[in-house]
Symmetry: C2
Subunit: 139 residues, 2 copies
């Protein structure tokens, strides 16, 4: 394993699922990823450990991890979804439109305003999606 995958597989087992070689690999790929890879990319990385692992298994495993709440699936600009380990404080994303790079940020203030707005409209906020798109400033 490139890096310890604290939880992912164990939590999966705790939910009554079996621990398989491919799940361990996919969990490791996600845990050691420092970016927001899409499915083909996760598959590619997983294949470096097991060249027989199938795309279907990647999709199925990701779905399970997502249902258990171990990962998050974001689909920026309506493109194919990208994945990241769900841990640490919530954050939103800024996408660099010149290269697709994803930058994370967190705004206590925006989060609060969102709840306020929903409230004012008579709703209880259950979720939200916030993406900023921009290009590096010339400087």
């Amino acid at each position: 394993m490139t890096q310890k995958s604290p939880g992912l597989v164990e939590l999966c087992k705790a939910k009554g699922r079996r621990i398989t070689g491919q799940r361990k690999i996919i969990a490791d790929v996600i845990s050691s990823a420092h970016d927001h890879p899409d499915v083909p990319e996760i598959h590619r990385r997983a294949m470096r450990k097991d060249e027989k692992i199938s795309l279907s298994t990647v999709y199925r495993t990701l779905k399970i991890f997502a249902e258990i709440g171990l990962i998050e699936q974001h689909s920026f600009e309506g493109g194919p979804f990208r994945v990241e380990r769900a841990e640490g404080p919530h954050h939103d994303h800024l996408i660099d439109t010149t290269n697709g790079r994803v930058i994370e940020f967190r705004s206590e203030e925006i989060e609060r305003l969102q709840t306020e707005i929903a409230e004012k409209l008579g709703y209880e906020l259950t979720g939200h999606r916030l993406e900023l798109y921009g290009r590096p400033k010339a400087k």
Copy 2:
């Protein structure tokens, strides 16, 4: 025409495109829509005026309208995109998760914070997407 379509078709023509019967119909469907219909729904409404209009033409026309900036395409929750006439001040959406209804809102404050955040990260904000999801408060 159910309702005057101020601009849509004319602006389309101004961009060098031809004014066709199906474009007039689609423009009218969009202009008189008070919701955020998806493509099948727009097609359905368009067929009430011309039962021969094809889904491809709807897709193609919407793409043109979007390129010219006459409409906006939002894809909530990764679902199929929904359309709305681009006019009036910018706004964001709150989706009622109990029935899919879309409620519009505008927050000067959030808009400003977004620009600030991008700036602080060294970016010039070129666009953003903000969606709130919630359920009606019991009250």
